[in-house]
């Protein structure tokens, strides 16, 4: 644990918030189109209709905001899932959330021939929610109710099912493949501010609610029996956490498509910084998640310039070695 006292943690939280804002301005200023800090400021205070100003306002700004919001949401959803399942490798993508969203989008394209990002937003939100609700229900069947093991197994099964059905549809329909491929890779670019605005209330509700239940998650982390003995309504808490997970990861996937690894990497990184108290882990994970996705997105513009690497690929490149590290550390214990 890096920050051991609460005053250090408050200071760190403030610094992280500041750094997030700095990264957002970097995301606005740096990219393929040459812009300067002065232009960026002018674009908001003294808009003159030049190409650069238009790009800053309608491309770079939404992109920065979306990266921050999506990164924060995925990271917090990952914290909740890891806590709920007691599985250090848990993340939205392993619980059928991304696969469900992807399948819903592919169905929309292949069966209804719709390829509109705004439509994708709602369809994928719906797909993510339906998939996770299925996983949750399957994981709750049986006498003991929802257990970490059953939830993980149900998630793996649903993911596999949706992923293979998605592939099946894409094999049959090649034109659809082209249309959804970029979406399936996950990206925060090319989205309008309205896309974010339409799901923002859900994300905001998820952030607030996750902070409210943070203390209760600490109690639950000591085990179901201990938590019940202390008077915690564990069934209700798990249901509440499940709803928050749907709001956050469903909202995130709706805006940016399936972006992997953030949900796994950030919770671990956060615990290394502030320890295991959810009341600190959740706000920190949100900030760090936003920061990582901003960094990955900025980097994605420079790697094969003038082309861009989908940010989902960037997070995977950063995340995979980390994933292996966690898995090995877990097995050695």
């Amino acid at each position: 644990m890096l920050l051991k006292t609460n005053s250090l943690r408050w200071a760190g939280l403030f610094a992280a918030a500041l750094l997030l804002l700095v990264l957002m301005s970097f995301s606005i200023v740096y990219g393929y189109t040459d812009t300067t800090w002065k232009m960026a400021i002018d674009a908001f205070t003294n808009f003159d209709g030049t190409n650069e100003h238009i790009i800053i306002q309608s491309v770079r700004l939404p992109r920065a905001l979306i990266a921050a919001a999506v990164g924060a949401s995925l990271a917090i959803a990952g914290v909740l899932l890891q806590s709920l399942t007691k599985n250090p490798l848990a993340a939205p993508e392993i619980f059928g959330i991304n696969a469900g969203a992807g399948f819903a989008v592919v169905i929309t394209v292949t069966l209804f021939s719709i390829s509109n990002l705004q439509v994708f937003t709602w369809v994928s939100f719906l797909g993510a929610a339906v998939s996770f609700i299925f996983v949750y229900i399957i994981g709750s069947i049986g006498r003991e109710g929802l257990t970490p093991m059953k939830l993980t197994l149900a998630g793996a099964a649903m993911s596999a099912m949706f992923a293979s059905m998605t592939q099946g549809f894409l094999v049959i329909n090649e034109t659809a493949l082209e249309q959804v491929l970029f979406w399936l890779a996950g990206s925060v670019s090319g989205r309008k501010l309205e896309t974010l605005a339409s799901v923002f209330p859900y994300l905001l509700a998820g952030w607030i609610f996750s902070l409210i239940i943070a203390g209760k998650l600490n109690v639950l982390s000591m085990g179901e029996d201990v938590a019940k003995g202390l008077g915690l309504k564990t069934g209700l808490l798990k249901l509440g956490a499940g709803i928050v997970i749907v709001l956050l990861s469903g909202g995130a996937v709706a805006v940016a498509g399936p972006i992997g690894f953030l949900g796994i990497v950030i919770p671990h990184l956060t615990r290394a910084v502030v320890g295991i108290d959810h009341r600190w882990v959740i706000p920190y994970a949100g900030l760090l998640g936003g920061m990582l996705l901003l960094i990955a997105d900025i980097a994605s513009r420079y790697i094969i310039m003038p082309q861009e690497v989908p940010v989902g690929v960037m997070t995977a490149v950063i995340g995979t070695p980390f994933f292996v590290y966690i898995a090995r550390r877990g097995f050695n214990k």
């Binding site: 644990m1 006498r143 203390g215 600490n218 109690v219 982390s221 000591m222 085990g223 029996d225 201990v226 019940k228 003995g229 202390l230 008077g231 915690l232 309504k233 615990r271 320890g275 295991i276 108290d277």
Partner: protein
Amino acid sequence: MTAGQAIATRDLTLSYGDTIIINELDLEIPKGEITVFIGGNGCGKSTLLRSIARLLKPKSGAVLLEGEAIAKLSTKDVARKMAILPQSPSAPEGLTVLQLVKQGRYPYQTWLKQWSTEDELKVRNALKATGMEELKDRTVDSLSGGQRQRAWIAMTLAQDTDTILLDEPTTYLDMTHQIEILDLLFELNEKEKRTIVMVLHDLNLACRYAHNIVAIKNQKVFAQGKPEHVINCGLVKNVFGMECEVTMDPLFGTPLCIPYGKGRCILKGKGFKDD
């Protein structure tokens, strides 16, 4: 219902699926005493304890806590009157002893009242009573088995309840630490008159520490009472299916059960019992 009962069960039936574990049980557990459940593996003594702690819903019947049906009380109210320490609990990696013990105050926390001086005091007392003050900043996973169990007991003490339930609190501990834990519980009972109900595997330690033994067999209570009144060869044979002699603990005078069996016998004509 007399004032002398902490817990009672009425017509309590417990089951796993269709398998009945405890059948129509009426049990009374005296206040201010140490009660120990004994019985063979799988006899349902842990299940009974879990159900008293409201961790398991009964199939039918009720558990009464100080005369009130536990199912009708709010779960936080119950947590302010009765604490449960489950069998081999596990703390998340990295949790410190202090953080663990503080969680014992959860039942007292509300939206308006997050952490009070009383909470602080109860936590400090719990650490003191269990001798964990020095170790409070260590992580639970870095402690030895005995220390870890004391940390968990400190958490249940911070809960500040009249009744404490413990499911096999001495499992996986060596003999020194078994005695240490049981001495601690005995002192809590002596000094603060807390009602202690636990499941123990060691019959001889049960006889030494319990005021009240509850022997469970065939979904029922086979016998209940002071160890010196209920523990004899007949009971052990019936409840555990084991041949033994019962003699007197030379240090405490409580019943001491010595099993027959195979083994390296160096006394002529003893050890193995012919039927």
